[in-house]
Symmetry: C2
Subunit: 351 residues, 2 copies
């Protein structure tokens, strides 16, 4: 896969500055075209949002114009929404799709790209800092008892007592990819003991992941056994589905705190609820859920010690869009020079 990009179609909303940056890159690399029509993509819900309003629908005429734009694409920035046909049929000249999400496997499958030779790159890394902030914030919120302080404030209650600390505690990071490394990087100066879990463990993995020790996924129960905090960062693949279930949860230390910023399907929510009810899990912070939006009847809404974040903690205005465009522009250069792209999706492993 190589060549100077002739036609780049931008399939979701990007701001003017981003588009100018992409156009300039394409102009310099190939003199090719950038196709984009902001009226044909979902309007952003906040500055820098590429997903856009959920209830956005194109008229039949708009849909035809949108399919025309897609049809010319050699390169796509983001997977288009509400396109029923396989993407390789919609865009016969398609060579590469740069997704706007970190876990692009399921979307690539839905778009029918797994059995094609269209390259898919994910936005892995673009969201890592924001997700790591969520994890560190949730752990500190738990350790420092902010929820209790807020409740006491309402009652004007000055109640001194013991307060936790991250220092000296153990954090198990399940998934040592870009998000996991962003977490370990931020957790290290707090004086935590860090362990990681990854699919296959090779020499030097611990150092690369910024943790003291790495366990292979088969030893997940061993890895979480000593952890005061467990942070899940895994994408949804057949191997990760339900990975953190009853067995793993019961192997955890009583009072463990769990965060999930990977994909909802990795964590068995029914098992988590049971463990929250018994107090075996003392708190959780979830940015992802098996079904999104989280249904109103989910018991997860009912726990004082659970932070429910609507898969939005990476909705950082400008920051995300800038990082995504920077990645895309770097990849455009690599594409033009025939080099391997950053973040290429493994169509077997789906991440």
């Amino acid at each position: 896969m190589a060549g100077r990009p002739q036609t780049v179609t931008v399939a979701s909303h990007f701001g003017e500055q981003s588009l100018r940056r992409i156009e300039q890159a394409v102009r310099e690399l190939s003199g090719g075209r950038v196709l984009y029509d902001k009226d044909l993509v979902a309007p952003p819900r906040w500055p820098g949002d590429t997903v856009g309003e959920r209830d956005f629908r194109r008229s039949p005429q708009e849909q035809r114009r949108f399919l025309d734009l897609l049809g010319e694409a050699e390169v796509l920035l983001d997977f288009p929404r509400d396109v029923d046909a396989p993407l390789a049929e919609v865009a016969p000249g398609l060579r590469w799709v740069q997704g706007a999400m970190a876990g692009a496997g399921p979307v690539a499958r839905e778009a029918g790209l797994l059995d094609t030779d269209v390259t898919v790159t994910t936005a892995g890394g673009v969201f890592s800092a924001q997700l790591a902030e969520f994890v560190l914030g949730a752990m500190l919120d738990h350790a420092k008892g902010f929820e209790r302080l807020r409740a006491n404030r309402k009652r004007r209650l000055w109640h001194e007592g013991a307060v936790g600390t991250l220092e000296g505690k153990t954090l198990c990071i399940v998934g040592t990819g870009s998000i996991g490394r962003a977490i370990s990087h931020r957790a290290r100066p707090f004086g935590m003991r860090l362990v990681g879990v990854k699919r296959t463990v090779r020499e030097g993995d611990a150092g690369r992941a910024g943790v003291e020790e790495v366990y292979p996924t088969e030893k997940l129960r061993e890895a979480v056994a000593e952890a005061d905090y467990v942070a899940i960062t895994l994408p949804h693949t057949p191997q990760t589905e339900g990975l953190v279930g009853r067995e793993a949860l019961s192997a955890m230390k009583p009072g463990v705190h769990v965060t999930n910023v990977g994909r909802g399907a990795v964590l068995d929510e029914a098992a988590l609820v049971e463990n929250l009810e018994t107090g075996h899990v003392s708190g959780a912070a979830l940015d992802v859920f098996a079904v999104e939006p989280l249904p109103p009847e989910s018991p997860l809404w009912s726990f004082e010690n659970v932070i429910v974040s609507p898969h939005a903690t990476d909705n950082a205005p400008h920051v995300t869009e800038e990082k995504l465009v920077a990645l895309f522009v770097r990849n455009l250069g690599r594409y033009a020079r025939g080099e391997p792209l950053e973040n290429e999706l493994d169509k077997e492993l789906l991440y």
Copy 2:
């Protein structure tokens, strides 16, 4: 000030393990005695608490026994509570007091030690990690909107929207001592721009404080002007009293977030309340107050976006006690060898 410590009196509650560690150190250094009676000090409110129950009172007989223990002291671990006479009169042979608080200046003044040649050492550094965790936790809580998420959870409301981030934001650390450095160390990997404020600026101070730039206190308004977050870590001295007042607050950026883990008197609470009311300050997290406990009528209790912590975020079971005892044992060694002690209180500057 030097010599082998002959009599060490422990004047507040310490656990058995701590006492054994102190006794062993004294035995090895001088063969001297350690005086301690747990019935004469306030019982701990949580494991490792040296302050103890606020309503603890000694009977007249207990008070006499306590004064006897103090009277023999050459070295005191912690300032004794409820002793009215100047400490140097109570303990004529007193040479050194190791305080259990970071900001020991006002306590040393109250004990009448400022005009004596009794050395006072503070527990500076012992609490820094815990206080830095509070600051980072409060900033992340603010950036990630945890308070809003908690309110939405109660309503089972899935509301996506923009979320803040620490990355790329500016943090101004007012006071670049041990607490300030603990904050900068933890904030750095979040990709924040860090600036510091200290009394006098010398070459290399920025590097030592782990910040990009250091301003002298006179330029406080300039230092805070670009900050999205301001963290106050200063002790209470005549120079710091009311330092962060109307002028400094109005020099801050609209929407600034303020934390205070130094001393309450450094921050003008009335001015803070005004700025919270107008929204100029978008949130605050306070572990210290001008009057403690914070009076029930204080308006600070009434803001949803203020975390009120009862000067207790450093109440970390075991962690604090272990660090304090480790410091004391190091200082006992220095004392025995006639070396300068760690954390010696400057009786002019009061920190």
